[in-house]
């Protein structure tokens, strides 16, 4: 829903006093209040947002320079630490938690004048693909309120689809930006691993976690990435950035571009209507001059098994800090220290967090480590090698984001393995560390379908350029 112009235009309108930062914040807060029924937002940062907006308007009135995102409101997934309100990761164990500092990503956006107005719902601790695992509320899909918004950044995707703010932030450990973006019909970018600092973002699986934007256009996603990307002394895994991530708006020639369509993602289990949308996208890209070939990576069907060993292992380690002693929920009726840990964690964690902690503990435990964890990390190497050889043949790869469109709320709730299978086409690039993006490509069963585009490691700018071209040609 087009309540906002693109980010650049919104910032320009504030800077030229056509509108003001305060009126933008008030507008976003009203839209959030009017759309409460979708469960996209967990909390608002009203006082801090309005105060920052006033400061920005004052600066403009004084003729001082303001940043590239001056007065542009945004919504952050609630696993980003933010000042001025709670950061819960949608979990009971962090209910009421007041972050003492902000994530680097938020700091960088604020330095350019953007204003965080609210915190978006997610699967608790980002564990899930539907936002049904939130300990507080289920996010509904803006295109059909009986269906899920996807996850784990479901609140962020729904917020952008509803037009509550010009952009939102999400995190992607195994598809958590791309999948809800596909389900809700918005753009979702998963950058190269290490390109954006994760300092101040609640850790899920440290070897695959990345953060990125959800937006209504590729241009907006590129701008937000351009502000957030780069090395951060507070995150030792960050890598060097390119000078710019903004794709040229005039670039449309694709005669030298070769794209691989991933064979393993187009076979059994893919919904026919979803497949047709992807094949239509392939035709559009061909018409624009791109060369399309089929690529095959035989280990790809194993990626999900690798993922569901590596990730729970890292989850169980990262969630061990929630012990009920220094912050978060603490059981008052415990008699001993051990009992205090056990009762605090048992009440504070939801079923999915416990499930992943248990799997992770199992695959890392003595006698099983080699068979599960080490084996999975070795198959991961095979995946990396197969992606590298595929990228020797092609510049980019493409496929669907998910085998099906957004499912009905509750449809997969009784079987965790079935829920995990939704991630089958998104997890591989997290394990490999390369960038990917979901761009709206059409409708299947009257629900949005995203086209997933992937590029080699650190080729985020090329990926955004391709995505911008596709976005421009797809309706022709």
């Amino acid at each position: 829903m087009a309540h906002w112009k693109n980010i650049e235009e919104e910032a320009a309108a504030v800077a030229s006093k056509e509108t003001s930062a305060v009126s933008n914040v008030e507008k976003a807060l009203k839209l959030i209040a009017d759309n409460e029924t979708y469960g996209a937002v967990l909390s608002i940062l009203q006082d801090r947002a309005l105060e920052r907006a006033k400061q920005i308007d004052q600066k403009i009135a004084n003729g001082e320079s303001v940043g590239r995102l001056a007065g542009v409101p945004f919504i952050a997934k609630d696993n980003f630490l933010t000042l001025g309100g709670e950061t819960t990761a949608a979990s009971n164990i962090l209910k009421g938690f007041q972050a003492p500092y902000q994530s680097t990503a938020i700091e960088k956006l604020e330095a350019e004048g953007a204003i965080c107005v609210a915190k978006a719902n997610l699967d608790a601790f980002a564990h899930g693909g539907s936002t049904e695992n939130s300990d507080f509320v289920v996010t509904k899909n803006p295109h059909d309120i009986t269906r899920v918004a996807g996850g784990s950044s479901g609140g962020s995707a729904a917020a952008v689809a509803l037009g509550l703010a010009p952009f939102a932030l999400g995190s992607d450990t195994g598809g958590s930006i791309r999948e809800p973006a596909s389900f809700c019909g918005v753009v979702g970018l998963k950058p190269t691993y290490g390109l954006v600092s994760r300092s101040g973002v609640v850790a899920m699986a440290s070897s695959t976690d990345v953060i990125g934007p959800l937006t209504t256009s590729v241009q907006d996603a590129a701008l937000v990435l351009d502000v957030m990307a780069g090395k951060d002394p507070l995150d030792g895994t960050t890598i060097d950035r390119d000078d710019s991530y903004l794709p040229s708006t005039h670039q449309t020639d694709m005669s030298s571009v070769k794209i691989g369509i991933i064979k393993e993602y187009m076979g059994d289990g893919l919904d026919d209507e979803v497949k047709n949308v992807i094949l239509k996208a392939v035709e559009d890209l061909k018409k624009a001059g791109a060369t399309i070939v089929e690529v095959s990576m035989p280990s790809l069907p194993l990626a999900l098994a690798v993922y569901y060993i590596v990730v729970p292992a890292e989850v169980s380690s990262n969630l061990s800090r929630y012990d009920g002693q220094r912050f978060g929920y603490s059981a008052t009726d415990a008699k001993t220290l051990d009992e205090s840990y056990e009762l605090s964690r048992s009440v504070g964690f939801g079923a999915e967090a416990k499930r992943r902690i248990m799997i992770g503990t199992h695959v890392l435990s003595s006698g099983y480590y080699d068979a599960y964890y080490k084996k999975a990390q070795t198959v991961r190497t095979k995946l990396i090698q197969e992606f590298a050889s595929a990228f020797e043949q092609v510049d980019f790869m493409l496929g669907p984001v998910t085998p099906e469109v957004a499912f009905k709320i509750g449809a997969n709730a009784d079987d965790p393995l079935k829920m995990y299978l939704i991630d089958i086409m998104t997890v591989a690039i997290n394990l490999v560390g390369i960038p990917g993006i979901s761009v709206p490509a059409g409708l299947a069963h009257n629900m949005p379908v995203g086209l997933q585009l992937m590029a080699p490691q650190k080729k985020d700018r090329d990926l955004l350029a391709l995505a911008a071209i596709y976005e421009g040609i797809k309706h022709e």
Binding site: P100, G236, A334, T361, S365
Partner: protein
């Protein structure tokens, strides 16, 4: 190998510092067995001569200057989230 007993589940819960109800033990016994059954498809993969990958950036020994950064955060801000405290101390149950 993938079939977990209720004793296995209780052992894992103990290692992970989770207290589980009887219903949860049965639930996780079933669910974890099913998930582990799925991931065990890796058993048949030949990985001879392949080394594991634990991180993908290629970065090694990343360090930064050991200096004090002023976040403007007070002791009171940090203690605000502490469940039980006494003065400026975090209060926990006795350990020994």
């Amino acid at each position: 190998m993938s079939k977990l007993s209720s004793e296995d589940i209780l052992k894992l819960a103990r290692l992970a510092r989770l207290h589980l109800s009887q219903d949860e033990v049965l639930q996780y016994q079933k669910e974890l067995s099913s998930i582990l059954g799925y991931v065990e498809q890796l058993d048949s993969v030949d990985v001879s001569g392949v080394e594991p990958t634990y991180q993908v950036t290629g970065l090694t020994n990343v360090t930064r200057t050991d200096e004090l950064i002023d976040y403007g955060v007070s002791q009171a801000d940090l203690l605000k989230n502490v469940p039980t405290k006494e003065g400026a101390y975090i209060k926990v149950r006795r350990m020994i």
